[in-house]
Subunit: 433 residues, 2 copies
Amino acid sequence: MPETHKSPPLRLGIAGLGTVGAGVVRIVRQKAELIAARAGRPVEITAVSARNRDKDRGVSLEGYDWEDNPVTLARRADVDVLVELMGGSDGPAKAATEAAIAAGKDVVTANKAMLAHHGQALAEAAEAAGRVIRFEAAVAGGIPIIKSLTEGLAANEITRVMGVMNGTCNYILTRMQSAGLPYETVFQEADKLGYLEADPQLDVGGIDAGHKLSLLSSIAFGTQVDFDAVQLEGIGKIMIEDIEQAADLGYRIKLLGVAQLTGRGLEQRMSPCLVPATSPLGQLEGGTNMVVVEGDDVGQIVLRGAGAGEGPTASAVMGDVMDIARGLRISTFGQPASTLKTAQPASGNTPAPYYLRMTLHDKPGALAKVAARLGDAGVSIDRMRQYGHDDTAAPVLIITHKTTRGALDEAIAAIETLNVVTDTPVALRIEEV
Amino acid sequence: MPETHKSPPLRLGIAGLGTVGAGVVRIVRQKAELIAARAGRPVEITAVSARNRDKDRGVSLEGYDWEDNPVTLARRADVDVLVELMGGSDGPAKAATEAAIAAGKDVVTANKAMLAHHGQALAEAAEAAGRVIRFEAAVAGGIPIIKSLTEGLAANEITRVMGVMNGTCNYILTRMQSAGLPYETVFQEADKLGYLEADPQLDVGGIDAGHKLSLLSSIAFGTQVDFDAVQLEGIGKIMIEDIEQAADLGYRIKLLGVAQLTGRGLEQRMSPCLVPATSPLGQLEGGTNMVVVEGDDVGQIVLRGAGAGEGPTASAVMGDVMDIARGLRISTFGQPASTLKTAQPASGNTPAPYYLRMTLHDKPGALAKVAARLGDAGVSIDRMRQYGHDDTAAPVLIITHKTTRGALDEAIAAIETLNVVTDTPVALRIEEV
């Protein structure tokens, strides 16, 4: 174990000075003593880079060199670790990461998009150069889930990983429920509060959370990141009545990511699901994140914490930085990138019960026809209710027994040809958690 | 990053073949390939030691040398890591650990009692010899809390650590509530189910959980382990009516450990507390454990999982073993033992509201006298109720405003001199979680 004042400092170059970058600068300045005591050596910042040099970020940049070009920053001889906090799957983030590795630096990043798209190539390059890429901050903010999976639970065959990992979506869904407001209204609210990405589809379309799930899949199952195979479904079609009906049945609707290795291949889904209201996932409110890991020996482990924000995300970045300072070096995805298997996407999803909502034209026999089409497709009905009924249309709610998504989609297609439903039925998976 | 088949195996000597030891043997045998792929080298068992050689443990010991004496095992030239799973604060466990360190071996242990009493000396010895002692399995079973605190959250000033860390006590308390049974009955049940330690005070007296709390305090606050300063209060005095009254008020009773660094010093408490029924801690049922960590940057992180049992505990042991196999080496308590400060035990506890239950002799003016004594001690009453009242005695429940334990104890002592209560009042802290 090295002693604090005999070891040379670990020198950071920080690319990107948004909320998280400024948070990292603040922590390095404020907690130098604590960090040195725990890491066994000081951690310092040599140089920083961002788009706008003049912006006031609420932290002092005194004593740091400025680089306009993050690639130049990444190559500096007095930088040991590139801390990449610019974001974006390609462009400057990727260029700087590649430059850092080529120049023999380690990389700490919060960039889920970059790793979801280029993680395998970057990990191979880093390992060939004997460097590490760490990304605790890329998934679930301050929750130490990457470390828990790759290190603490490393002796487990992971059977399933689940998570609520987009705070904005969880905010929208819980706010719809608590205030009884429609999706569009709460979406506007979230936008005004600055909770949404510039492209809101990254949040409400499930893309951001899907990026995170693809990274968890890789480390959980020893497979190459395969974001393209993540089945993405956003929350935009969730109506307030879905939330209310689900609550009546004892459920909550969450944008839930699930990855599991099945006999049919690797299943990766990011979609709105019903989970029991009394389960840890069901009780998750607002911007908080939760990841549930199931391992053959450890059973179920649940981790919960802030999924975003300056402090929590910078805490995760600094955890990675301190690992590097301490000499704790681990392969990007928990085992050498060359040993990661190619994931075989599952041909269909694990069967589950489904929640099915549709509105019928008020014609005699409509419901019987729907029931018949479900039966034809092999989908059996557990519960059915009609509710809030006007003269022309009758909303109907059906909970199915366990079925496959394929059978359900077949039934829905058949129902749509009947000319008895006003709109495409909404189908939501009920996840056992 | 080393490749699997080029690196020499990490060789374990396992001392103690109870449930956890047998689990470790099973995992090493069953998952050799997974472990080698992730750790970058094979993990093997060279020799084992236990009290009874002939016992059937449900796993094969074929290919392992047997040592009657764990100290001999610890010194073997073909052992790299002593896995100490015998338990007990002194005796063979400590002797073998010391022998291993002296012989230049690393140590992985699940022994909270040994570390609570001798952790500082053992850590100093290990660090002087350049070896590590790892103890993830000693606290909260399969939950990777030691790793999360010492590594993932290392950049945080920890403000508070809380936990429900004795599954037996949580089983007893939740079973009392769900079945409406008195403490004694459920205690007997737990005994028959084999849930209790040979000395049940280790469980129900809070000693085992107190050991764990003292270890968490050390790594959270950078202080030397100080088990003697843990304020211990067991669950033996909790009556079914306490559980029912607490539930009526929206609370659950948990044997809760709390460690926090205050202006008055380090506060370490292990005692039955009331927590909100809707909080993650309040919702914890049966043998599941939960640890809540609060850091200045990360905010609140909650970890939940199985706190005991063969699989979860062996999973934690193997996580430590795989860290050593990977070359991840960290000081026992997260920073060099020589830099840990001596903890200053807090002079008094952080103020909190309290739950106070007493039974009054049915005499006129009794309640007024009680209220006056509380007022004299500066304890103000938030809510008070009388319930289930017979001819001679009246049970009374009082919820106080925030007060100190000192003021409350003063009031209770004064109340007892009044000759109006049938028994010593029961006082339980209401913890903000």
